[in-house]
């Protein structure tokens, strides 16, 4: 055998040992080559009479296998160009055969008549776990704290396509298997043992010898489902009422939670429901058909690209300018100990960075540290953080009211109110303490960076570092380059963002930058609908059902209706609209100025809030001001509202590209998902245009919406040019560092 990713030996007892060890990688993944090797090994074990059994293990300290190679898969997902000569039937057969090859091999291995055991020294996820499940016996390490098992495919729009949807339910029953596959959550070795996913725990160094011993002792091993009289634990729908209920409630939970937006999860349910009713060989064929169906959906390509490949690339600094050494951040100062500053300080300290937290008085600064204290207490209380680690974290936060303490900081994040004069003053006070190479960052969500840099003695060192609230839960940081910001400053800032384990996107200067500007369009469109007389419940329900985390009115309440009124007036003034005479302006003024309903912070806005700050109900008297003229929402109207809400955001994103605010489709997608929760199944705003619609269809729809609802939907010259050329965002604005961007 000529293997690249496995070593293969046979011992004196005739027990073969295949060690999975993909060269040049720290972690095994199921590359095309690895799958080829598994096919070869299977054939060898099945046909070589001197082989009595097989043990599979890993040559990597990191674990067994992290699953499919999504880099490869991302290329093939979405269906390539159909082989033009083929009939549809031939093409479908080809697709099936390709998709089925690993399933077929693993099933051959499972039924080759010889015992197969798998030694799991560390994590086995996705395809890795599926390979392990095709063995007859699994021994997992009990001394590796990082060991974990799971089928995470659904999280990125895929389904386990190498037997996972068939073997896991047959091992543990539908009720336990479905949430694991649908949510993609990983579980520990102990849980795996309890459920029966692994058969034995042993010290990592002994997993292989235990597996060998088992193989030796069990020459007639079979999978449980190949034993006569096998019954699926918990039963099968239509043969057991309990299993029927599990199916019904699983369907309901998925429909309720995902609003039918995620085809992978629906297909997972179908795989399990249909596959478990038939023998496993038929079940595996059903799984492959649903796998291909899923893989060909635009959602799969969009989710793999954005939620996995792009997020991972950006989190490793893919957009960092090359040629600068990694920036060491020994000390970082945060100025302003309010909600944002306190959160930033906590995140820095958690990442091991000595943090100076400056405010106007020691008391105020210490109040900011209290925020970290509370977070630490909570986690220690829940056993999620060791007490000594918590204390060490807190010890790294140094509250002060003296700018002298800023001296020696490698980077400063100014996080005070959105007041340009105050920010200018602080910039000067901080810079007086800083070396010439230190970075001066401003955490602002809207104020143009170039303007703020005017106060700086070293505008090339000045940069926008836009955090999102609550800082400890929001994974994105929007980095804004001012006119004079240097590449070196950008590289240093990206190093800082990576050091505190957040995902950076890089944008150019403009009012509202990228995220604040685009995010606002969702709420604005919702408010426009309200002013039109669409029943508030319709706006809110369809907002959430479109995949947004909240309805637009609830978002407005969170931001604050007073803020929305102010922004509305500013925008109206800028565009020459008489805000006081239009329906929306009058309604907002009435809410804020007459009714005092300024949003969640006041416990009342569009919603009434309960004492926990959760929305209780939409304020019934809203309808005394806005007459509801649309109080029913049949499917066609629902689709129309959904399109308005999502297309409006994508149009604004396109304008940001057109104006050069943003230059990289990957930043556009990840920013839209992580900053304002743009429907994740679309892969983000750019992929929504490219994949869910297609550029030409999108432009046509935007034109239609513009004709019906106003020019805010009108596509600009950029979109028209893209449509004319058949270019999506990923063609026109390819991610930095990719082959496409170098060609462009």
């Amino acid at each position: 055998m000529n293997l690249e990713t496995f070593s293969f030996t046979i011992d004196d007892d005739g027990i073969a040992h295949a060690i999975f060890d993909v060269p040049g990688r720290s972690m095994n993944t199921l590359t095309g080559k690895a799958i080829g090797d598994i096919i070869a090994i299977t054939e060898e074990v099945a046909t070589n009479d001197s082989i009595k059994g097989l043990v599979i293990s890993s040559g990597k300290a990191s674990g067994f296998c992290a699953g499919a190679d999504l880099g490869e898969m991302g290329q093939s997902a979405g269906g390539g160009k159909p082989e033009s000569e083929m009939t549809e039937a031939e093409l479908k057969k080809l697709q099936f055969d390709r998709g089925f090859s690993l399933n077929k091999t693993l099933r051959e291995l499972e039924t080759c008549g010889k015992p197969i055991a798998v030694a799991l020294n560390g994590l086995a996820l996705g395809g890795g776990l599926e390979v392990a499940l095709a063995g007859h016996y699994r021994v997992a390490a009990n001394d590796n704290p990082k060991i974990q098992f799971g089928l995470p495919e659904a999280k990125i729009g895929l389904l386990p396509g190498a037997g996972g949807t068939q073997r896991l339910p047959r091992l543990v029953g539908m009720q336990e298997a479905l949430p694991l596959i649908l949510q993609g959550k990983s579980f520990t070795a102990e849980k795996a043992l309890t459920m029966g996913v692994v058969n034995e725990l042993a010290p990592g160094s002994e997993t292989v010898s235990r597996a060998k011993a088992w193989v030796k002792a069990n020459p007639d091993a079979k999978a449980p489902w190949d034993e006569k009289g096998f019954k699926v634990p918990g039963g099968v729908p239509h043969r057991s009422p309990g299993a029927g209920q599990v199916a019904t409630f699983s369907n309901a939970m998925l429909a309720a939670n995902s609003y039918g937006n995620y085809p992978a999860q629906k297909n997972i349910l179908s795989c399990v429901y249909e596959g478990i009713q038939v023998p496993i060989d038929a079940g595996l064929r059903i799984e492959t058909r649903y796998f291909i169906n899923t893989q060909q959906r635009p959602e799969a390509k969009a989710m793999i690209r954005s939620l996995f490949l792009s997020t991972q690339a950006l989190s490793k600094g893919a957009s960092r300018p090359a040629g600068f050494p990694k920036y060491q951040l020994n000390k970082v100062a945060v100025i302003g100990a309010g909600l944002m500053g306190a959160g930033i300080a906590y995140e820095q300290a958690k990442a091991g960075i000595e943090t100076v937290l400056v405010d106007t008085s020691p008391e105020n600064a210490d109040k900011g540290k209290d925020y970290a204290r509370k977070l630490v207490e909570k986690q220690v209380g829940r056993g999620k953080m060791a007490a000594d680690k918590g204390q060490a974290l807190l010890d790294r936060i140094h509250p002060t009211d003296s700018y002298d303490d800023v001296k020696g900081a490698d980077l400063v994040v100014e996080a005070v109110f959105e007041d340009p004069e105050l920010k200018a003053k602080i910039t000067q006070m901080a810079e007086a303490q800083l070396s010439e190479t230190a970075v001066m960052g401003s955490n602002t969500s809207t104020l143009p960076i170039t303007g703020l840099a005017g106060a700086s003695a070293r505008p090339e060192n000045f940069i926008g570092i836009h955090f999102f609230s609550p800082v400890e839960r929001m994974g994105l940081v929007e980095i804004i380059r001012g006119k004079d910001t240097s590449d070196e400053t950008l590289a240093k800032t990206i190093d800082y963002v990576l050091a505190i384990r957040k995902t950076p996107i890089v944008v150019n200067d403009s009012r509202g930058f990228y995220t604040s500007r685009c995010f606002g369009t969702y709420t604005q469109e919702g408010l426009a609908m309200l002013a039109e007389g669409i029943k508030p419940a319709i706006i809110e329900n369809v907002g959430r059902q479109s995949g947004m985390p909240m309805g637009p009115l609830e978002v407005s309440d969170s931001v604050g209706l007073d803020t929305a009124l102010k922004v509305g007036r500013q925008m109206a003034a800028a565009t020459g609209v008489d805000y006081s005479s239009n329906e929306l302006g009058q309604m907002m003024a009435w809410l804020v100025e007459d009714q005092g309903r300024v949003g969640r912070k006041a416990g009342k806005g569009f919603y009434d809030y309960n004492e926990k700050g959760k929305p209780d109900r939409l304020w019934p008297e809203l309808n005394t001001r806005v007459e509801v003229t649309v109080d029913e929402c049949p499917p066609a109207l629902k689709q129309e509202i959904k399109n308005r809400l999502l297309v409006r955001q994508a149009i604004e994103v396109a304008r940001c590209f057109e104006e050069g605010v943003i230059t990289d489709a990957r930043d556009g997608d990840i920013g839209s998902i992580l900053a304002w929760g743009f429907a994740p199944y679309t892969g983000g705003c750019c992929s929504y245009v490219d994949l869910i619609w297609g550029i030409e269809a999108f432009v046509a729809e935007a034109d239609r919406l513009a004709d019906t609802y106003g020019d805010r939907f009108r596509p600009g010259a950029l979109l028209r040019d893209m449509a004319a050329k058949g270019q999506g965002f990923y063609d026109r604005f390819p991610p930095a560092g990719t082959a496409a961007s170098q060609a462009a």
């Binding site: 239509h238 429909a255 939670n257 349910l269 179908s270 419940a537 319709i538 369809v542 629902k638």
Partner: protein
């Protein structure tokens, strides 16, 4: 097309559909058999003239399985030449069975046919026949599957029926039912169920709660709030985004009861009636079935009533009596609201909230009830309809002769 006449109708009383119910110890086959025997014996039928027996049954498994209609024909000692077929249109099965029997007469396929239904809910529980709708993800998700009670609560929420409104309707149903029994309005059609010795096992509807009041109903907990919280409210709001929350107003006291029972209705052509010296009691004016939105599920009666009225060339006001199965209080309330039907014309003798709803049999029971009521009051026309699972409606207009 010839006319189809109703010559007779019988029904068993309805026993509580649980182990302590009077009919629990009587098989479903026996219930169906006794209705067929009664209709034969009351009319002195030579069953060789009965071409077919169509019986509705919603859980056709176990003892109700494998074409209970044919087995009941055999067990009732009908001529072996009489065919039998079991059909399932969920809650309208009994009426659909009658419509099919009537249609057989109209088309000349049969000269005489029996429609009816049977359901022993205490012996073959609701849902026993399984089915793909809720379990198979390929259909459950795209049709917004939710249990019927969620649909009933959704109707109440969407059309503005409060808990008090539906409870008041239920109290009225119980009072009407009690009065109807007191006055012996059902005397002609109820056949006592006989036990294994031939003694009387049950001779009255035993599910009724004539003492129900707003206070007693007010104490009952909503039945479907728990289901709603498990995801079904969120699902139904995907089809009806105009609803902020689902108001769970239905409970055991304003929904149809679970009961056992059977019914049979004799249809024939004019010639066959004359040949057997039978007096026609009513004639079929029109019949119809429709599909409606499956998520809310229970709005079909209004639409099928409109369709069947059109087929009959009639207006809403031309009908003297409406009988709409009280699956849940909001169902008849919705039809009254949408078609502007006064309560005085709707379910005049109470309904399934009081009597219970033996799924496969109810439609035939309602048809028989209307024949009796038209005769008792001297009125001319009645429209019988039921809401149906998965979003359907079936209706029949009859005219007294």
């Amino acid at each position: 097309m010839s006319e189809a006449y109703i010559y007779d109708a019988v029904r068993t009383p309805r026993g509580k559909g649980k182990k302590t119910g009077s009919l629990h110890e009587i098989t479903a086959l026996s219930l169906a058999t006794q209705s067929l025997q009664a209709i034969r014996d009351r009319n002195d039928l030579d069953t060789r003239s009965v071409d077919d027996v169509v019986l509705g049954c919603v859980s056709p498994v176990g003892e109700q399985g494998a074409d209970i209609a044919r087995i009941a024909v055999l067990n009732a000692d009908y001529a072996e030449t009489t065919a039998g077929v079991q059909i399932d249109r969920f809650c309208a099965s009994g009426l659909e069975a009658c419509n099919m029997a009537a249609a057989k007469v109209m088309t000349g396929e049969a000269d005489m046919a029996i429609g009816g239904g049977v359901e022993s809910m205490s012996r073959v529980p609701m849902g026993a026949s399984g089915g793909a709708w809720s379990t198979d993800p390929s259909v459950a998700l795209k049709t917004y599957f939710a249990p019927q009670g969620i649909g009933a609560d959704t109707i109440a929420t969407k059309y503005g029926f409060s808990r008090d409104d539906v409870d008041a309707y239920a109290v009225a149903s119980q009072q009407r039912a009690a009065k109807a029994w007191e006055e012996g309005r059902f005397r002609n059609s109820i056949i006592p169920v006989r036990d294994q010795m031939g003694g009387t096992q049950l001779d009255h509807d035993e599910h009724m709660r004539p003492d129900a009041t707003m206070q007693s109903l007010g104490a009952l907990n909503p039945s479907f709030a728990g289901m709603g919280g498990m995801g079904f409210d969120e699902i139904i709001k995907q089809r009806y985004p105009e609803l902020e929350k689902i108001d769970h107003v239905h409970h055991a006291g304003n929904s149809s009861g679970i009961v056992d029972g059977s019914a049979a209705v004799l249809f024939g052509s004019r010639e066959m009636g004359e040949k057997h010296s039978l007096k026609p009691r009513a004639r079929i004016r029109a019949m119809a079935s429709i599909g409606s939105e499956p998520g809310i599920m229970l709005t079909g009666p209004t639409y099928v009533a409109q369709k069947v009225l059109k087929k009959a060339g009639m207006e809403v006001g031309d009908i003297d009596l409406y009988e709409l199965n009280e699956a849940f209080a909001s169902v008849p309330m919705l039809m009254m609201q949408l078609l502007n039907i006064p309560h005085e014309k709707m379910n005049v003798n109470g309904g399934a909230i009081a009597f219970g709803h033996p799924l496969g049999a109810t439609g035939a029971m309602l048809l028989g009830t209307m024949v009796d009521e038209l005769e008792r009051t001297g009125k001319e026309t009645a429209l019988v309809t039921l809401c149906v699972g998965a979003g359907m409606g079936t209706a029949t207009i009859i005219e007294r002769i």
